[in-house]
Amino acid sequence: MGIKGPTTEQLLDMYAAMWRIRLFEEQAEYQSGQGKVLGALHTYIGQEAVGVGICAHLTDADYITSTHRGHGHCISKGADVRRMMAELFGRVTGYCKGKGGSMHIADFAVGMLGANGIVAGGFGLATGAGLAAQVRESGQVAVCFFGDGAVNRGPFHENINLGAVWRLPVVYVCENNQYAQWTPQEEITLVTDVASMSSAYGIPGAQVDGMDVLSVYQAAGEAVDRARRGEGPTLLECKTYRFHGHNFGDPQQYRTKEEISDWSGQHDPIQGLGDHLQREGVLTAEEAESIRNSVQEEIAGAVRFADESPYPGPEELTRDVFSTPVA
């Protein structure tokens, strides 16, 4: 069955959200260079269509789990870029009071159950979220984002099997950007089309162009609907590409400049949607520019907010280990 939409309003929201991710990440890299953003930084640049196209089907009541490359998921799910940036700066106004940093941003208020520094760490969390939804018959859906590299870890297998046999309302979304850190996918598995692995669990699989937000939107809509109808999980593979290194500072000797510029030049998801909207007459070049500018402002505000925020005080060291302090 076909998925309706997206509406014009949704399209414009998605366009803005993709810019929000792009500019947040660019700013994060810049601030990392300045020594303000601390620790490891894995940007989502190039993959914006995936998070945005999928989360367009979710409300704050739905859940997502994320990865080490989580900023895009946070923003797609509606997290506040100010508190995100403050977290990257290690400030107490951050989502985790500065205790988490880039790899551990969570916003439970919008159903974002956390970035995760462990590859494949999200499978159990998402499957459990789906279980909670099913047990409570709440109609909520959980989306598990993971990379192609995570596919080779045991929790992929154990949890998708569990989600399948219990028909949990979960969508397992593989962002196949073709590399796990510095290793190309074809070097570490014979099966590069991850969607095809769905048959090993008896659930549907689908593969889409992850650089095209409209394709992602369509496929995600079907998978989310299926989950909401109580028919169980889908394994959705989005073929995508990260335009920057694995982390900020990665010298990228494992791939060619040409490969990178081919992808970023010809498959930029933001440009793709922008062009589409202009062709459809939904957006003028000026409007596009103004959306970008207002997001730019927002990000600048986030940096100011972060920079003006205090660091956590020493009392925060031992808080939050348990619900109440413990001997």
Binding site: C96, F108, F123, G128, V135, V165, D320
Partner: protein
């Protein structure tokens, strides 16, 4: 007070709390068939059919899913058939369950209980006889309960089921069938309160799990020799009731720590070093540790017997301390 075995005591806690709180949810391998190998979850499927599920052999998914469900409003109670198999889910325990509250700045509770049948029993050798309390103690964010009696097991499980933090609930397999009196009125046992199982003036014995019974046996024997052991069961290792332990040592000036864990790096090391550090001025003799041999659990009964700490070893340590 009725006398019931420990597996029944835990079962009663589960039943009573499930009736109170509809968010409690049980999962694990074979937990419906026969109520699991230890019959702890027997009857739950009949009474709460929608709140118990039998899983595949997928320990990582069991724990991961329990944690995810806990973040989203359930209170999962997962049985890991043998604590030895928690090795298959340590990322989920250590990097997820224990850390999410802290990493996320306190945004969420993590009310997961992992039920962990532990220790030696029935000659099942190295991969089915371990005691891993020390690992769990060493992971900030995990609470660790080690009941030694049916009464404690029920009361501690009830506390766990009402708490907001992850609990590693250590169930010594050898104790499942051991009976003890359990109040027939409602009670809970708070975490972090040690229980003085026997009062004595001469030596403080901090014993946990199956060593509590052995310590009490040793105490009876030594009492005839004029040596009075004070047997303290911490009941939870995290949180740890150091007040009770330290004040006992201040009274007796001697201490033995005993548990069924492998000695090197066991929880006895943490307790002994805390006592040695904080009761230094009161100690008349070195703190002794009576724990399992530093070997994988051997199969043969003659060797298993040597590996596991015994009443005899407790007697020897105690006599040595007062000599």
């Amino acid at each position: 007070m009725p006398s019931i075995p420990m597996n029944q005591a835990i079962r009663e806690a589960l039943h009573e709390e499930m009736a109170r709180d509809s968010s409690i949810f049980v999962l694990g391998e074979d937990v419906i068939a026969h109520g699991g190998p230890y019959a702890v979850t027997r009857g739950i499927a009949e009474q709460f059919p929608d709140r118990i599920r039998q899983t595949p052999i997928s320990e990582a998914a069991i724990v991961g899913t329990a944690v995810g469900a806990a973040l989203c409003g359930l209170r999962p109670v997962a049985e890991i058939m043998y604590v030895d198999f928690i090795t298959c889910a340590m990322d989920e325990v250590v990097n997820q369950m224990a850390k999410v509250r802290y990493m996320f700045g306190g945004q969420t509770d993590v009310p997961v209980i992992l039920r962990l049948p532990s220790g030696s029993a029935r000659l099942i050798a190295a991969q089915h006889s371990q005691s891993l309390e020390a690992w769990f103690m060493h992971v900030p964010g995990l609470q660790v309960a080690v009941p030694s009696t049916p009464r404690d097991a029920k009361g501690l499980m009830k506390s766990a089921l009402r708490g907001r933090d992850p609990v590693m609930f250590i169930e010594y397999k050898r104790l499942y069938s051991v009976k003890g009196e359990v109040p027939d009125t409602e009670y809970v046992i708070p975490f972090g309160q040690a229980d003085v199982k026997r009062q004595g003036e001469d030596i403080t014995v901090v014993a946990s799990g199956p060593m509590v019974g052995k310590a009490l046996e040793a105490a009876r024997i030594l009492s005839a020799e004029g040596i009075e052991l004070e047997v303290i069961d911490p009941r939870t290792l995290v949180p740890l009731d150091t007040d009770t332990i330290f004040s006992s040592v201040e009274k007796t000036n001697r201490a033995i720590i005993t548990d069924e864990e492998v000695r090197r790096g066991g929880s006895s090391a943490e307790l002994a070093s805390r006592i040695a550090e904080e009761c230094f001025d009161y100690l008349d003799a070195p703190v002794r540790r009576v724990a399992a041999a530093d070997v994988p659990m051997p199969f043969s009964p003659v060797l298993e017997k040597l590996a596991v700490p015994s009443v005899e070893k407790l007697l020897a340590a105690a006599r040595d301390l007062v000599a």
